[in-house]
């Protein structure tokens, strides 16, 4: 997968929010590449900036208070950050699809599912009403909704949570997107329903071959889905590696800590969970040092003074840390 061409190149995105008590520095210079057909998992806790990063790409944030301070996002020879709303509108829901976390609030309650499914196709592809309706029924079938044809006239409240999330996926897929951004799409769902949705996404990915950015806080979901994983903390990517490499050989103290805090479903039962002490960072402070340093057991003077950049430490494995986990050396 790594040899393939990239479809989306994001460089140095920084986004902040203006609030009454000064700026909140949500995203602080994020860069990543998305390869064709790849599934990139973006993992982080709440407030780590994972959603804001992706929403910045398509300017889905209310501006103000949000401000994109810097950065470029190259998609098909265009810089998304430079586009105006009209140009972006042609891309949103078209070549780049978006699935949001909460299927309860992201569908319009007063429009039928059929209308909401057809809308992007009529808008982006210029489909006639009839053609869009036919394709809508196919899409619903694709995401495993039985009796698709008759359900097009139903309203969102007539669907369960899992079904609504399937509808969201169908809408996102309507225009054959090149890139699909899924923002915690299964977090609001129960595990058995989550398993159904993950199954559908895996299948569709094989059939349609789009690239996916999958945002989640669940390290388990990413393990089963992603080709590559980026771990975020305090508005930075702190580690990025192919999925097997990341779980087998985590190099950033935060990733290491996070993997150790998780209880196992199989195998030995730990007597006591390891935990990461302290609290998540306060994003009101402009980050001038490593955001994880106050909670890090490996931190030394430099960590509190300078922010490490994301550098390659072999096998496509990038880490942003002054401490080298392989040699134990302080850089």
């Amino acid at each position: 997968m790594s040899t393939q061409a990239s479809i989306l190149q994001v460089e140095n995105i920084s986004t902040r929010f203006r609030t009454q008590d000064g700026y909140v520095h949500a995203v602080n210079g994020i860069s990543f590449d998305l390869k064709k057909g790849e599934l990139l998992g973006v993992v982080g806790e709440s407030g780590s900036g994972k959603s804001v990063t992706m929403m910045s790409l398509l300017k889905l944030l209310p501006m103000p208070p949000a401000e994109i301070v810097s950065g470029t996002a190259k998609f098909e020879d265009q810089d998304l950050i430079q586009l105006d709303t009209n140009q972006l509108r042609k891309i949103r829901g078209g070549k780049i699809g978006f699935i949001f976390q909460d299927p309860m609030t992201s569908l319009n309650p007063v429009l039928t599912i059929g209308y909401q499914l057809a809308e992007p196709m009529r808008e982006h592809l210029g489909f006639s009403r009839r053609k869009a309706r036919k394709r809508s029924a196919e899409l619903l079938e694709l995401v495993g909704i039985p009796m698709a044809d008759s359900r097009l006239n139903d309203y969102p409240h007539q669907f369960s949570g899992g079904m609504r999330q399937r509808v969201m996926i169908a809408i996102a897929l309507a225009c054959d997107p090149k890139v699909l951004i899924a923002d915690e799409p299964t977090t609001a769902l129960d595990v058995t329903i989550q398993a159904q949705i993950l199954d559908i996404v895996k299948r569709l990915r094989k059939e349609l071959g789009m690239a996916i950015i999958w945002i989640t806080h669940d390290l388990g979901v990413v393990a089963g889905m992603a080709d590559r994983v980026a771990v975020m903390y305090g508005g930075f990517i702190v580690e990025e590696a192919p999925v097997n490499e990341l779980y087998a050989n985590p190099k950033h103290p935060y990733t290491q800590g996070l993997l150790k805090t998780l209880p196992n479903l199989e195998g030995d039962r730990a007597k006591r969970l390891e935990s990461i002490g302290g609290q998540p960072p306060d994003l009101h402070q402009e980050p001038k040092s490593c955001p994880f340093a106050p909670r890090c057991s490996k931190a030394f003077e430099r960590c509190l003074q300078e922010n490490p950049s994301l550098i390659n430490r072999g096998k496509n494995h990038k880490v942003a840390c002054w401490w080298n986990s392989d040699s134990g050396e302080k850089v």
Partner: protein, 327 residues
């Protein structure tokens, strides 16, 4: 843990909670949401019983009915041999200090206008425990025992992060030195790195004060870590109950099996080779549960009988109870 004989602290028998659905001006009852539909189990002193299930299965309602926060429709709850449902208001109030609850969302369960000190001392005031400077000392000591600074008493909940607020909620719950605490999804609203802190705290407190927990959660991995025995709930009924070792290694009920196989594991190699039981469809409405076995509509192994008769709640091995025709 299992070999030693422990006394039963709490006994639940045939507990039901139906919420009426009413219609019209006269609020005629036209149906009922059968949130809890006949559950029975014992909780032994000093153990942690995990109660798992998906949203809407009735696990939180069960917790609240046990503490008599809702009045039960049918069934019995006895705490240390005393039938809680037969008690009058005043006698029940006297039992309250022994049974406490930790809620899911520390944002909602702490009054934003009260200081941390008054939140934690409220149960002490209510039950007339400690006076004056002794009470203040007790509050500070409680704060310390949940890993917070004793100087925080004059601050307000909004000044704290989610994990810290949950610690305040825990301090309030242990203020009256209860024997039994129901933890209703205490970590669901917290970040992963904070969850472990709170779970470790709960375990430390259990060890220190000999607490008994009913730990309600949808997080199967965390339940495995914290619980001695686990009850799996589906649509108002318990489908399987056994010690956590057995439940996770050899689950017997098809629902337990499906649930366990649906949990993502944080190991990509393992995930690749895992066989999943993917359930079709959704959980039926508790207002209109299927006749027979509640799980029959989604069960991959359901037979004719499953759709007609409710399976009996029976013991298949000592300490392992299952409600399924096929086991």
């Amino acid at each position: 843990m299992s070999s030693e004989e422990r006394p039963v602290l709490l006994k639940v028998e045939g507990l039901k909670k139906h919420f009426p659905i009413t219609k019209g001006v006269f609020r005629r009852q036209v149906g009922a949401v059968k949130a809890v539909d006949g559950i029975s189990f014992d909780i032994l002193k000093g153990e942690t019983l995990g109660l798992v299930g998906e949203s809407g299965c009735g696990k939180s309602t069960a917790g609240r009915v046990i503490l008599q926060l809702y009045s039960a429709t049918a069934g019995n709850v006895s705490f240390k041999g005393q039938d809680l449902m037969s008690l009058n208001k005043e006698d029940l109030r006297k039992q309250r200090p022994h049974m406490q609850m930790i809620f899911q969302d520390p944002q909602d369960s702490l009054n934003p206008r009260m200081t941390v000190g008054s939140i934690i001392s409220e149960p002490l005031v209510e039950h007339g425990k400690f006076k004056g400077s002794e009470r203040r000392e007790r509050v500070e000591q409680l704060l310390e025992s949940v890993g917070m600074n004793r100087e925080f008493t004059n601050r307000y909940p909004h000044e704290f992060s989610g994990g810290q607020r949950q610690r305040i909620g825990i301090a309030r719950a242990i203020a009256l030195s209860p024997e039994f605490i129901i933890c209703d999804e205490p970590i669901a609203a917290l970040d992963v790195s904070i969850q472990a802190q709170v779970v470790n705290l709960l375990e430390d407190l259990q060890e220190e004060y000999g607490l008994t927990y009913l730990f309600i959660s949808h997080d199967l991995s965390m339940i495995r870590h914290i619980a001695d025995r686990v009850a799996v709930m589906y649509l108002g009924r318990i489908v399987e109950l056994t010690d956590s070792e057995t439940l996770y290694s050899t689950p017997q009920h098809p629902y337990t099996q499906a649930l366990l196989s649906a949990v993502p594991i944080h190991d990509p190699k393992h995930e690749m080779n895992r066989e999943r039981v993917i359930l079709t469809g959704d959980v039926p409405s508790p207002a209109n549960p299927p006749p027979g076995c509640h799980f029959s509509t989604r069960c991959p192994r359901a037979e004719k009988r499953c759709f007609e008769e409710s399976p009996e709640w029976r013991e298949i091995e000592p300490g392992h109870q299952v409600a399924c025709h096929l086991v």
